[in-house]
């Protein structure tokens, strides 16, 4: 009995009668519909070809990128972010000035061809200072997102997989950190860590490279490491709790997959969407905290430039040189806006369930 779709002469009716006649041949059970396995033939290569899916399968990432491209705001934000990275990292190299170079005789200049954003009261080029400040912001944002990503996802995964008792204790800790007034703790930590870190960096030879980052930036990383991983931990834990009950995880266990493989291949990979979204949205909030701290005079110290400290410097001369304030202030706002837009778009694309 060779049932092939190519065989046009073979009709359904005929098949039914054939099957029925097969069944009737079994004398013991006249009403059985069981087929005799011996009578079934293997599919031919031709038939197998028909089952091949013609359209190429899309991966999660390809599909996400396809949908992401349709969002014009998100594409503009992405382009702007790439532009800001070039501006911040290539700009200072190409610029004829450096952030702390004081040009005598060209103090307090209005924007001109040589100095597109003007100069400050020490004769420093404002544009190159904004480039450096942007660099600080971007480095802080990306590294902070990375720190919270690592700590948060490890903590969240452990909490989600541990026994309910351990999970409960771990989540109480998260709750306490979560309900702390973060700005206060941020301020306290950055005061307290500044001096010890300075000492540490200056006294040991091995820290010579890190010295470039400077103690204020480093203390800010501690702040993020201490405070901001809790959101990530909560999200990862929620994902792990929901996913570990799913059938495909049970199937993986049944097929003998080890715990490590299940965490890596099934739990973490499937929670990738929310993790990426949360990490991306961490970038603008870190940039905000850095600029806020620098604005109130606790972040980056002079002569190093930060967008927040530039706004603060410009505040003193606001009535005579208002433009000097506008450039860094607008830059901060645009960077944060771009990252927020990017994060929201990623959420729509990667994790539609999180959308409110």
């Amino acid at each position: 009995m060779n049932i092939s779709k190519n065989d046009r002469s073979y009709t359904i009716d005929k098949a039914v009668t054939e099957i029925s006649s097969d069944v009737y041949k079994s004398p013991k059970r006249p009403f059985s519909f069981q087929l005799d396995p011996a009578r079934i033939e293997l599919a031919t290569a031709d038939e197998k070809q028909e089952l091949v899916i013609m359209r190429e399968s899309t991966s999660l990432w390809k599909d996400a990128w396809r949908r992401f491209r349709r969002n014009h705001f998100a594409m503009i934000a992405l382009a702007f972010i790439i532009f800001m990275f070039l501006f911040a990292f290539l700009g200072p190299v190409l610029s004829p000035y450096s952030y702390d170079q004081q040009i005598r005789g060209s103090e307090n200049m209005m924007p001109s061809f040589e100095h597109p954003f003007g100069t400050d009261k020490f004769g420093r080029d404002i544009m190159v200072r904004i480039m450096d400040g942007t660099q600080v912001s971007l480095v802080i944002g990306v590294l902070a997102a990375f720190v919270t990503l690592i700590i948060g996802s490890i903590y969240g995964a452990i909490s989600g997989l541990a026994s309910p008792r351990v999970d409960n204790i771990m989540m109480r800790i998260v709750e306490i950190i979560y309900s702390m007034p973060d700005t206060l703790i941020v301020i306290l930590l950055s005061i307290a860590l500044k001096a010890p870190l300075d000492n540490l960096l200056n006294s040991y030879y091995i820290f010579e490279g890190i010295d470039m980052i400077g103690a204020p930036l480093l203390s800010m990383f501690f702040v993020f490491a201490f405070l901001y991983w809790v959101t990530m931990a909560r999200i990862v834990r929620g994902q792990v709790l929901a996913l570990k009950e799913q059938e495909f995880v049970l199937a993986a266990y049944a097929m003998g997959a080890g715990k490590g493989r299940i965490i890596r291949k099934h739990l973490l990979l499937n929670s990738m969407g929310p993790i990426i979204v949360t990490a991306t949205l961490q970038i603008p909030s870190a940039i905000f905290v850095e600029s806020f701290l620098s604005f109130i005079g606790l972040g980056i110290s002079a002569p190093k430039a930060s967008l927040g400290s530039m706004v603060n410097d410009a505040l003193n001369g606001i009535y005579t040189y208002p433009l000097r304030l506008v450039f860094p202030a607008v830059t901060i706002a645009l960077i944060i806006l771009a990252f927020n837009t990017l994060g929201d778009a990623l959420r729509d694309v990667l994790d539609p369930r999180m959308k409110k």
Binding site: P181, L184, A192, S291, A329, I336
Partner: protein, 304 residues
């Protein structure tokens, strides 16, 4: 309910204890005491440290400090002779509280109204404009808003007051700055919550019964969609209390926030600790009240 209350209070007390401990030990980690200066001779320094109990072991100081806080005594200021932290807070805090309170009311009224307008005119040009405004607004840090307002109204138009006095005119720019972010947030919150409520079956029922659209929108829909706004009041107060640092700095308002920033550069530890703990008690307390309040307001929320 009693169990929920107890749990909530215990967790608040634990958080507060954690903050006091962190604050205390962080402040004692900072090298260079308040009396370290070139001019002071070692004997005077030792005497001063003795007077303020700074010569005792840190653990003992911690115990004394905890005991004092339990009696609501935040200790003396080290830099302002003869003043206690309590007296400084009670002098400076009312200024901040007045500004914060007005901002809270302003932000909630404007935010809820914009949110309702956007939800009722869903997908219209009004909705789009409001959403565009809030999306941008949520990304702009408060100090950027404040300084830019000062550029426009102070430097370019020259109509903003340059010094602080208790004149109502002086409050306009700070309140706009201060409430900018919460307005955007409350608008988004109200809009999405209202849209969700408007899609519910009981709203359709109310309309089918022939109820006037005013009654449906405001008595049925608004009442049920205001709960997320109530839950946001906790984080909002926290924002107002700490956000004051920037606003008070920009507009030279003599409030607690500005004083706090100054006390940091003065290394006045008891003042830093005292202010932090005072603000933390405020934030945690209000969060707790809000949490309890919304379980009362909305019986659907499970008491876990």
């Amino acid at each position: 309910m009693a169990r929920f209350l107890l749990r909530r209070i215990i967790s608040s007390v634990l958080t507060l204890l954690a903050i006091i401990t962190i604050t205390f030990f962080l402040m004692h980690m900072v090298p260079g005491g308040p009396f370290n200066s070139e001019k002071m001779d070692p004997v005077t320094q030792a005497n001063l440290e003795k007077k303020y109990g700074l010569d005792k072991p840190v653990i003992e100081q911690y115990g004394i400090y905890l005991g004092n806080i339990a009696q609501l005594d935040l200790g003396p200021s080290l830099k302002l002779r003869g003043r206690t932290v309590n007296s400084i807070i009670s002098e400076k805090f009312p200024v901040s509280a007045r500004l914060g309170g007005m901002t809270l009311v302003f932000a909630v009224i404007i935010g809820v109204s914009l949110g309702i307008a956007a939800a009722l005119k869903h997908e219209s040009i009004i909705d789009r404009l409001i959403m565009l405004f809030t999306t941008f607004g949520i990304s702009v840090p408060g100090f950027v808003v404040g300084t830019l307002l000062l550029v426009v109204f102070g430097a370019l138009l020259n109509i903003a007051p340059t010094t602080w006095s208790n004149n109502p005119v002086n409050y306009i720019l700070p309140i706009i700055t201060y409430s900018f972010y919460p307005i955007c947030f409350v608008t988004k919150l109200t809009r999405s919550s209202m849209l969700e409520t408007l899609g519910q079956d009981y709203i359709k029922t109310a309309r089918a019964k022939g109820l006037a659209s005013f009654a449906v929108n405001y008595k049925h829909a608004l009442k049920n969609s205001i709960i997320p706004v109530i839950t946001y009041l906790g984080p909002l107060t926290a924002y107002l209390i700490t956000g004051g640092f920037a606003v008070e700095k920009i507009f030279s308002i003599p409030g607690l926030g500005r004083f706090f920033i100054d006390s940091i550069s003065n290394r006045d530890y008891p003042l830093i600790m005292g202010t932090t703990i005072f603000l933390a008690i405020l934030v945690i307390g209000i969060n707790m009240i809000v949490d309890i309040l919304y379980t009362v307001v909305d019986p659907r929320i499970k008491l876990k």
